[in-house]
């Protein structure tokens, strides 16, 4: 198509004001044209607010240039330069790209994280610490009919880097658009009639206040060729938020699978039609023919609904699932596995497995928009030659998009942990003592060499210098002592020294664990409690020591909220959840599988050696943070 004909597709912000003025006339027709003098102050104020929203969004809009491979759009979401865009926009660009902002300046940007399945990429612009950015809104609140607008770089028109604005309404919510092969799946996306053209890809979709409700990425095209026909799709901002932590960690992020398939029964119920026995859902009790009622706090009435919900969740998340069997409603927490192996994803990203040809998707309707991406699959990954501005900001590593940013995030979390848990440097054993639920005492001692627990049922210990996966101890806990050994190591030595510790991303966390087994736990409320949207997102550090893998949940203030420890993969982990105190925790709950192993009230934790090498009361840190 010619640039001349396409130039008209952009809608300057000024016109939006005109559009509003037309709306304000109130009559059924424009015949009753309103006198400018008659426009009420409220309308003028609304018009001004809209112009300001568009001006603000324009500042956060990024024009991405991927050299000869084309380009697209992006949207800045933080002052330090993080911007969201599409995987299919940055893929041809490689690790480094040039980004223009509406101030007319060109910035260097580096690839940070990729989510090929969701068609999302995170990049970071450099050169400022005061980038203009747009706030991310809650896309669950978006309704069909809401005003919205896109700010982007359609047809790469923005040679002066100022974005084109196209306004419209939200045409549909929670739409599902089929993937091309296993990537570029748009689940639970927003559908808009604002013009989304090639080049708009990766740009922000904004609400009336100029907040980001989505990232535009594809459109349904048909007989007119690849131009807007009033049917564009945007990845919802809530999906983006759910992946943002993982993306910031420089990871190559995968989407989730339940490990079960569902089908519509004759009576319209959504039932499990197949389930993997190795899946967590199976271990938690889900079986063939069970009716799936809700997932992640949202009702499941159709197969599509389940795909929509699953498609917005990162692999590794744990979400509530409600199912019904023989009229009985049960709720479980399910850990979601990945859609791909990390090798598969790496192959897709490097272009190897892109024979799927996203240009000709298997699923109707709608083509996956590959706007702004003239360069197609098969292109070999460009050699990484970084401009000087980006030197030191890229580090390749298997399983990661850019490991440099993993270290950045890992160290950020570590600094928070160190500040929240002030500990003496030293290798003295820690002694944790207190009482169990029924008042019986317990005592745990952890040293560099071994860990021992005294319980009313007996004493267990493990060798902390050997592989921690030998025998999970104490029996029934799934590996509590190993978890505590890693916990102490992480707190004392920091992540850099503790095995292979990386930043995982963020997961939902409930201040009190949502009910895991109670059959009627969620019966009263329509949806499961503790939806990912409602839960707090907390950072996760992942530590691998030999075959053992531990994941540490870290609150915003640096407190370690819990540990999930897998002595072996594909088994139930030992789950430790700490109750925050001023210093170290005041209580911990330990679960394994569906069972609560124990609820420990911690009365004191002694962490410093006395003169004779034994833990002493004087140096003890009272668990409740009070004075001794």
């Amino acid at each position: 198509m010619s640039r001349r004909s396409s130039g008209r597709l952009a809608l300057p912000a000024r016109l939006a004001g005109f559009f509003l003025a037309a709306l304000s006339c109130g009559g059924l027709s424009l015949d009753n044209a309103c006198d400018a003098a008659e426009i009420s102050p409220a309308v003028r104020a609304a018009e001004r607010a809209r112009i300001e929203a568009m001006a603000g969004a324009s500042k956060a809009a990024v024009a991405i240039f991927a050299g000869e491979a084309g380009g697209g759009s992006g949207v800045l979401v933080s002052a330090d330069g993080y911007a969201l865009t599409n995987f299919h926009v940055v893929q041809p660009a490689g690790v480094a790209m040039k980004c223009g902002l509406s101030d007319g300046r060109l910035y260097d940007a580096v690839l940070v994280g990729l989510d090929p399945t969701g068609d999302v990429a995170l990049i970071k612009l450099v050169g400022r610490d005061d980038f203009p950015f747009a706030e991310i809104a809650d896309s669950d609140l978006v309704e069909v009919g809401d005003f919205c607008f896109a700010a982007g770089n359609p047809f790469l028109l923005a040679t002066d880097f100022r974005p084109s604005i196209s306004a419209g309404i939200v045409s549909g919510t929670r739409r599902y658009q089929f993937p091309a092969g296993t990537i570029l799946e748009y689940a639970d996306c927003l559908q808009v009639d604002a013009a989304i053209n090639p080049g708009n890809s990766g740009g922000g979709l904004f609400d009336a206040e100029g907040r980001v409700i989505g990232v535009n990425g594809r459109a349904s095209f048909e007989k007119r060729g690849r131009v807007n026909v009033g049917v564009g799709y945007a990845i919802s901002s809530n999906q983006l938020r759910q992946f943002l932590g993982c993306l910031k960690g420089g990871r190559l992020v995968d989407h989730a699978t339940l490990g079960a398939t569902v089908a519509t029964a004759d009576d319209g119920r959504v039932v499990v039609s197949d389930i993997l026995e190795s899946s967590d859902a199976y271990r938690r009790g889900l079986r063939y023919d069970d009716e799936v009622v809700a997932l992640a706090g949202r009702p499941v009435r159709t197969v599509n609904a389940l795909k929509n919900i699953l498609g917005t969740l990162p692999a590794g998340w744990r979400v509530p699932l409600v199912y019904r069997r023989s009229g009985r409603r049960r709720e479980i927490l399910v850990r979601l596995a990945g859609l791909h192996t990390s090798g598969e994803l790496a192959k897709i990203v490097s272009g190897g497995a892109e024979a799927e040809n996203p240009e000709a998707p298997p699923g109707r309707p709608g083509d996956p928009g590959k706007p702004g991406d003239p360069g197609q699959g098969g292109a070999t990954k460009p050699e990484v030659v970084l401009p000087a501005a980006l030197s030191g900001l890229y580090e390749p590593r298997n399983g990661f998009t850019n490991f440099h940013f993993n270290v950045v995030e890992r160290d950020r979390v570590a600094r928070g942990m160190a500040a929240r848990h002030p500990l003496p440097a030293g290798k003295a054993p820690w002694v944790i003592s207190g009482r169990l639920e029924k008042g019986q005492p317990f005592r745990i001692e952890i040293s560099n060499r071994q860990a021992t627990i005294d319980l009313p049922t007996g004493t267990s210990s493990i060798d902390a210098t050997a592989d921690l996966d030998a025998t999970p101890a104490p029996p029934g806990s799934g590996g509590l002592l190993a978890a505590l050994v890693l916990w102490r190591r992480l707190l004392l030595d920091g992540p850099a020294a503790t095995g292979r510790t990386t930043y995982w991303g963020t997961v939902p966390h409930w201040s009190t664990e949502p009910p895991s087994g109670g059959p009627d736990a969620a019966a009263d409320s329509g949806a499961a409690p503790g939806t990912p949207g409602g839960a707090m997102l907390v950072d996760v550090l992942d530590t691998a020591a030999a075959a053992v893998e531990g994941r540490f949940l870290v609150a915003d203030d640096g407190f370690v909220l819990g540990i999930d420890l897998w002595p072996t993969p594909d088994a139930d982990p030992c789950e430790v959840r700490f109750t925050p105190g001023d210093g170290l925790p005041t209580a911990m709950e330990v679960r394994h599988g569906d069972e609560v192993f124990g609820r420990f009230t911690i009365e004191r934790i002694d962490i410093e050696a006395t003169a004779d090498g034994e833990p002493g009361a004087e140096a003890g840190v009272p668990a409740d943070g009070g004075t001794t």
Binding site: A22, L28, G145, I169, D193, G230, V231, T302, P365, G366
Partner: protein, 361 residues
């Protein structure tokens, strides 16, 4: 055709007053409703239809509008309905088999029925008099410049209980339709609303066009190109035309005052001339005459069974469908001349002026 130059004002005012008065009774078209509420209310009366197709670029889905509490649905007449099994999915996900009650070939409008009860619907006006129009639909024409929402099952993107898509736009013009599909002229030549939003998408046809009060103002048309420019048209059939077509199909139509066919447009069926062609079974069924009705103009002109029609008024007609399309472009009173091949010879037959007639029974 109801044209009312200079009468828009009073008509609109009456409609507005009526809408205001009756709104609360019907629970639709709430003045002051937000766009979100307006769209949600309208979407409940719009259905997703699934039938034949899915091959060679022919979609197997389109949209329909509920127009009676007992399950009458208006939609466009299309190949999607060429199926024994037409599936209708409501806004709430309920699914019903739909039966084709009949069609108005000139307006290319079809009426379906589902066995639902207590359904939300748009009551179409029983007459052309706007004073009796229900508030949930616009009484009379709306003017160019009116802001509208178009609701449809475009691209089949909504399934089950997912809501149909909503687009926003403005009525750009109210003009007679001059459009074609491939080489065929569209039979309807009356006024349509030309829209500034893209509604000529797969599956959109049969969708609801509503104003910002939530009143039904029209039904989205099929995918057609403008005859003059070849541009894909985004248009809707005004509600009054939809209502006429609906009444006609139900058998209440042509005899009612003011509801007859437009004198300046053409009846459609060759049967009106007394010609019965062979069944249309092929892509391009040759237009052989199956039989001629006695006493008809065709009989008087000497047409016979087994004649092969090759031209109509000097324009070649290569298929059965072409005959009907060509005939549809003629106005009532236009001379009809048919060229046939009979036993290897070309025979001209003059059928006289095109008769006026009601809708297809």
């Amino acid at each position: 055709m109801n044209r009312f130059p200079g009468r828009d004002g009073p008509r609109l005012r009456r409609a507005i007053v009526l809408a205001g008065l009756l709104t609360t009774l019907v629970g639709a078209a709430v003045p002051g409703a937000t766009p979100e509420e307006t769209i949600a209310g309208a979407a409940r009366r719009v259905v997703k239809l699934y039938g034949a197709g899915g091959v060679r670029g022919l979609e197997a889905y389109q949209t329909g509008i509920l127009v009676s509490p007992d399950g009458h649905i208006v939609t466009v007449l299309s190949t999607v309905l060429d199926s024994e099994a037409i599936d209708c999915v409501l806004d709430d996900g309920r699914r019903y088999p739909a039966t084709l009650l009949g069609a108005d070939p000139r307006r290319e409008l079809a009426v379906l029925s589902i066995a639902g009860e207590d359904l939300p619907f748009y009551p179409l006006p029983a007459t052309d008099e706007p004073a009796t129009a229900e508030p949930a639909v616009a009484g009379g024409r709306i003017a160019a410049g009116t802001r509208v929402f178009a609701l449809s099952n475009l691209f089949g993107v909504a399934v089950g209980d997912e809501r149909v898509s909503a687009q926003h736009g403005v009525v750009s013009a109210v003009v007679p339709l001059e459009a074609r599909r491939g080489a065929h002229e569209a039979p309807y030549r009356g006024d349509v609303y030309i829209l500034d939003c893209t509604t000529s998408n797969p599956g959109s046809a049969g969708g609801a066009l509503v104003d910002w009060r939530g009143r039904l103002v029209g039904m989205l048309g099929k995918e057609l190109r403008a005859t003059a420019t070849g541009v894909w048209l985004n248009y809707a059939l005004p509600t009054e035309e939809v209502a006429r077509g609906y009444r006609g199909v139900l058998g209440a139509g042509p005899d009612q005052p003011g509801t007859g066919p437009d004198p300046d447009s053409a009846p459609y069926d060759v049967a009106l001339l007394g010609i019965v062609l062979v069944p249309d079974l092929l892509d391009k069924t040759p237009p052989f005459v199956e039989s001629i009705r006695g006493g008809s103009s065709a009989a008087r002109a000497g047409l016979r069974a087994d004649d092969l029609l090759v031209a109509l008024n000097g324009r070649s007609v290569a298929s059965r469908a072409a005959v009907q399309q060509r005939l549809a472009t003629l106005a009532v009173g236009d001379p009809v001349q048919v060229t046939v091949i009979r036993n290897g010879s070309i025979v001209e037959c003059d059928l006289g002026p095109k008769p006026e007639a009601g809708l297809k029974p």
